[in-house]
């Protein structure tokens, strides 16, 4: 009886795992299959689950040869797409690197320094998290317009950094708090200043926390859509997410190009998530949940 129960349990677990994998992978697998399907096969009923003649044409169209799409009378699609890809990389990499240093400092200050209004200032940081965008975005639009920051890379990066600050600071703060104080106190007795002690002694131990900041910041900046949708207008500053949204015309959608573009946009965050899974989970749980 117990062995029967045990194997029944095993079978049920197996079915559940199978469901989990199908649920998470199937939609992404389908967009990938679509991206390597020739246009004729893409538009077939019922769908060709496995394309008879797989092709890389859609990728070539996007990255190398170029092909007309809705906006192509003005800008060739290929230049537009490649530029979006480069912009997204610039946004994600710059924001991520700046945040790694920036949030280490702010996190360390909140974890280790004593100063007046500390709690109030910390609330000032995390109070940002639940504010819905519009109340802020309407005025930022006016500030950006006055300061000439609309449709610029540096304007967007400033905004990305500001909105990463709360969670990344919080994350680093809780990471530093989990490191015993004796370590830097020993270094300070040896004549280091507090800040020197931080960089020389504490930072090496805090690297996993920095890794979590790197990965969470990269993914969230790469995925950003709402702010760039409002603040960028031309290829100079549009990230990939906004470029992709333009494959959707009012009457017609370029599903073949769209699916290839989607796959390209999915790859970097996917890659990082797989390599740094451990830090990602740490970043998620520590950044959003205190314990």
């Amino acid at each position: 009886m117990t062995t029967f129960n045990k194997s029944l349990r095993k079978v049920m677990l197996l079915i559940a795992i199978g469901f989990l994998i199908f649920w998470s992978v199937a939609p992404i697998a389908w967009i990938f299959i679509s991206s390597i399907s020739p246009t004729v096969e893409l538009f077939s009923r019922p769908p060709h689950w496995i394309p008879y003649n797989p092709t890389l044409k859609n990728y070539m169209d996007l990255l190398v040869t170029g092909r007309g799409f809705r906006g192509a009378t003005v800008i060739p699609a290929v230049r537009y797409f490649r530029r979006g890809l480069v912009n997204s990389l610039i946004y994600a990499v710059t924001t991520t690197l700046i945040m790694a240093i920036f949030s280490s400092i702010t996190g360390y200050v909140f974890a280790r320094y004593n100063f007046p209004l500390k709690n109030v200032l910390f609330y000032l940081f995390i109070g940002v998290i639940p504010i819905p965008g519009w109340a802020v975005l309407i005025t930022i639009y006016q500030i950006f317009a006055t300061a000439g920051l609309l449709n610029t890379l540096h304007g967007m990066i400033l905004l990305f950094i500001t909105y990463r600050l709360p969670i990344d600071t919080w994350l680093m703060k809780s990471y530093f708090e989990s490191i015993p104080r004796d370590i830097e106190e020993a270094a300070m007795i040896d004549g280091c200043s507090k800040l020197e002690a931080m960089f020389k002694v504490v930072m090496p131990i805090a690297l996993p926390g920095v890794a979590a900041v790197l990965i969470v910041s990269f993914i969230s900046t790469w995925n950003a859509f709402l702010a760039p949708l409002i603040f960028t207008f031309t290829e100079e500053a549009k990230p990939l997410t906004v470029v992709i949204s333009e494959f959707i015309g009012q009457y017609y959608v370029e599903w073949d190009l769209m699916s290839a573009a989607a796959v390209i946009a999915i790859i970097p965050p996917l890659f990082f998530a797989f390599i740094f899974q451990k830090y990602l989970i740490q970043g998620l749980t520590k950044g959003a949940v205190k314990y």
Partner: protein, 297 residues
Amino acid sequence: MKMRLGNIRRRESAVALLLLSPAIFLLILFVYYPALNTLPLSFFEYNLKIPWRKKFVGLSNYMKIFVKDGDFARSFTNTIVFMTVTISLSMLVGLFFAIILNEKFPGRGLVRSIMLLPWVIPPVVNGYMWQWILNGQWGALNGLLYQAGLIKDYIVWLANPTYSILWCAFVQAWRDSPFISVILLAALQSIPLELIEASKVDGADAVQRFIYVVLPLLRPSLTVAFIIELINSFMAFDVIYALTGVDPATRTLMIYNFQVAFQFLEFGYGAALSYVLFAIGLIFAHFYIKVIYGGGR
């Protein structure tokens, strides 16, 4: 000696504030100043297309929202439907996956990575991906249901006002559930094994163990996940925008505010709307801070 200690303290405070000042500057410039500055704007009639006709109208923007604006009422209802479905579905799926991943089996690390996939990909791309899957002419879902003999004809899922809001909620839940799983999995792993063993000895079966032992211990984390998902689903934009654009049938408050401010360029009315959303957000923020600091109790 006492003097020196005081000096050191003062120096420490000065260094701390100096180090924080760039961050505080950014937060004031791009968060708090804008948040306050939007308020006066909400008392004006101000359209960016005709900026010279800026006119003080007092509270009439707010009057319009609550009394006259049928689009607001509809968007409000849509938001409630969207949030209810998203939160319940993502919590259920998230809990289910957390329970699976808490079991020991070979390849668990890999399955855990796979579980994260929906959360990792850009939400707007996620929306387009599902729009393709749900496509009424060539979509994979239609193909699947057709081949399985469940439907006789392809269904245009996203053009049907009843289905479309449910699909938006479904896709949002598909994206959010991994995050909830991660939170709940951390909580499940911290449950002491002795407790489970003890309840086994007492003769509790798996279902009883779950309801009477595991669930009460999960409650703080479930609360945290609920609050986070409350905020997430309230602020959801990318997925809905990608799936159905500004279609009235799926237009939530976030989408409606975007449409008013950045498509109609009604900055005055948009500011008033955004302040109403802000007020709702503040209520959530209150719970958020309370729950996160209280450890979920």
